[in-house]
Symmetry: C2
Subunit: 332 residues, 2 copies
C-alpha cells in the first residue's frame, strides 16, 4: 500500500428512514472492519444518522458511504477532500452523477444481489408458469376454478438487462430448463443466453417470449423501456416480472392488459412509487402479484456489502482500480 | 398375446360433472388407441357420459375406466365379466376397495403426475421461502412492508409420503439445494432422501423442518396424519404445503397457527371440502395461499394417462402383471 500520513477518513451516512440503516450501525461496521486487520490502523470510520453530524465531518471526509437517501450535490461541493462515494444499493438512480465533481468516483453494490436475484427469478418464473397470479386473484374473489398447467421446460424468457442481476436471473432460468433470450444495450453475446439481442430489437425478442423479466437500472434512457407497444409485442397470455427499477416499466399499460386478459400475469417487486400507497389500484389489479421490493433483500446483505466495501478500501489505499465503479455516462 | 375369441370390452365412463371428462371424450380415446395398432383389432372401446349407457353395457364390460366420480359397489355386483377397474387419478380414496369383488383388479394413474409434482413442489417451496404467503396477505390488506429473505439452499424439507408424488417432489427439492427428510409408512431408505424415517417418527422429523410437504393419499390411516400436535412439533415460522389429499391435514389447526404467527406460511392445493366454498374462512386466512387443486393438473394429462392405460391393456391381454395395481389393503 502507498504511504499516507493520516488515516483515511471514511464516513458512513445512514438515512434514518431507510429500512436497512440499522444493519449499518456503528457496531456492525466495526464488526465488518475487524475482518480486515491490516486495514484497521489505516482508516477511521465514523457512522452518522443525522445531517448535523455529517455536516460537522464534511471538511475532512475522503470516502462517503451512503445508506439510503441523501442529497449529494450541495454536500459534495462543500467536501473538499471527497474522492469517493459508495452507494450501498445496486441502483444509483438517486445519485446525480452528472452534477458531482468529476474527481469523485462512485461505486455501487453490484453483484451483492446475485444469489437472491437467481432465487427470486426462479420463484417468479415458476409462479407465472403455475398461474399463481390467477390463483391469487381467484383467492381474493373467494372463487375456486381449476386450471390446467403446462411444463416450464422449453418455454422462453426474455431477460431485459444482462448485467449482474440479469446474469443471475439467467442462471436460475436455465436451471428451470427455460430458453433465455438476453436483451442488453449493445446485445453482446452472453454465456448464459441462448440468444443475445440489442435493446433496439426488444419487440422482436418479445414476440416469442412466454415471460419477460426486467432487471434494468433506472437511467435517462431506461424510463418506460417497456411501454405499451413493447407489451403488445408479447404473445397472448405472456407474463411479466420486474426486479429492476419501477419506472422502467409502464405499469399502467401493463395493468390495463392484465385486466382485459391480453397478458396472463405479473410479479412486480418494484414500482414507480414506493412504498406503493394504500390507495394504489395495483393492489387489486387482476393477475398482478405485488411483492414489496423484497425479492433481492436478504438478511446478510449489509455485512456482505461492508465486506465488499472494505475490500475496495484496500484497493483504494493501494492505488488500484476500484471494483463496481459506476460509469457516469451510462448511469450504472 | 394369448388367444381370445372376442374383442376385449373396454368401457370408459366419464362423469359429466368432472373437469377432465372432455379430455376423455370418444375422439380422444380413439386418438390414443391409434398409437397401439396391434391393439386396435383386439378391443372394443365404448365411451359413455351417462349412467343409462353404462348400465346398458354392464353385462359385457370386462374393463371399466372411471373418469371422475362413480358409485362402484352396486355396479360391480351387476357386472359379471368385470375383471379390471382403472381409475384415471392417482388417489383412489373414492373407490370402496374393500367392497369390490376380490376378483376385480384396480389400477390408478400413479406416476402420471411426476413432472407436475416436481415443478409444483419447487414452486411452492420457493414461494414459502420467499414469503409469498405473507406478501399475498399484505397485498389483500393493501399494505407495503419489506421483509428480508434468506437463501433456500441448505434448508430442510420433510416430505410426508415418499411414493410417486413424494419422489418427484424430492427431486425438485434437491434441485433447489434443500436437504430432504423422507417420511413414509415403513421409513425405507430412499435414493432421493438424505434421511428416511417411518411415519411413527414424524414429529421427530418435523422438529428440524423448515418446510413440510404432504403428498399422502387419503386412506383410513392417513386422515389427519398431520394434526395439531404434528404442526406444533415444527419450528416457529415453518411452512406447510399439501399436494396430496385435503383430509390428511387438519386445516383448521393449521389456520389457527397461521393466524397467530406460530407458523409462517402455507400453500394448499387440496382441501377437505372441494371446491372450497365461497364461505370458507380459508380464503382469507393470514399467510395461507389457496391453489384450486391444479398443481398437478396438466393439459397433457389425459392423453398421457390413456397411453399408459393402453400399454397396460397390452399387458392384460398378454396375461402379464398390470402396472399401477392398487393394493386394497394399503389403499394406494
Amino acid at each position: 500500500m502507498t504511504h499516507r500520513s493520516a488515516p483515511l477518513r471514511i464516513h458512513v451516512f445512514t438515512d434514518p428512514d431507510f429500512r436497512q440503516s440499522p444493519a449499518f450501525a456503528e457496531s456492525r461496521v466495526a464488526a465488518a472492519l475487524a475482518a480486515f486487520p491490516e486495514l484497521a490502523p489505516r482508516v477511521t470510520v465514523e457512522v452518522s444518522r443525522d445531517l448535523a453530524t455529517l455536516e460537522a465531518a464534511l471538511a475532512e471526509i475522503e470516502v462517503l458511504v451512503v445508506v439510503g437517501k441523501l442529497e449529494l450535490v450541495e454536500l459534495a461541493a462543500r467536501a473538499p477532500k471527497l474522492a469517493w462515494i459508495h452507494i450501498t444499493s445496486a441502483g444509483v438512480d438517486r445519485v446525480p452523477l452528472d452534477r458531482l465533481p468529476p474527481t469523485v468516483r462512485v461505486t455501487n453494490a453490484k453483484g451483492n444481489h446475485d444469489a437472491r436475484a437467481r432465487e427470486f427469478a426462479m420463484t417468479a418464473l415458476l409462479m407465472l408458469n403455475n398461474q399463481l397470479p390467477l390463483f391469487a386473484t381467484q383467492q381474493r374473489e373467494q372463487r375456486w376454478a381449476q386450471t390446467a398447467l403446462a411444463p416450464i421446460d422449453g418455454k422462453t424468457v426474455v431477460i431485459l438487462g444482462m448485467g449482474a442481476l440479469g446474469s443471475a436471473a439467467a442462471r436460475g432460468a436455465r436451471q428451470l430448463g427455460l430458453r433465455v433470450v438476453g436483451v442488453s444495450r449493445a446485445g453482446r453475446e452472453h454465456d448464459l443466453a441462448d440468444v443475445s439481442l440489442p435493446q433496439s430489437r426488444l419487440k422482436e425478442a418479445l414476440a416469442e417470449a412466454d415471460f419477460l423479466l426486467i432487471t434494468l437500472p433506472l437511467t435517462a434512457e431506461t424510463h418506460h423501456a417497456v411501454d405499451a407497444s413493447a407489451l403488445d409485442a408479447m404473445p397472448e397470455r405472456g407474463g411479466v416480472i420486474n426486479i429492476g427499477r419501477g419506472p422502467v416499466l409502464d405499469v399502467a399499460a401493463l395493468a390495463e392488459r392484465l385486466e382485459d386478459g391480453r397478458l396472463g400475469g405479473a410479479v412486480l417487486d418494484v414500482f414507480p412509487e414506493e412504498p406503493l400507497p394504500a390507495s394504489s389500484p395495483y393492489w387489486t389489479t387482476r393477475n398482478l402479484i405485488v411483492t414489496p421490493h423484497s425479492g433481492l433483500y436478504d438478511a446478510d446483505y449489509a455485512p456482505r456489502c461492508l465486506r465488499a466495501f472494505f475490500a475496495n478500501v484496500e484497493r483504494y489505499l493501494a492505488g488500484e482500480a476500484l471494483e463496481n465503479r459506476v460509469d457516469p455516462a451510462l448511469g450504472y
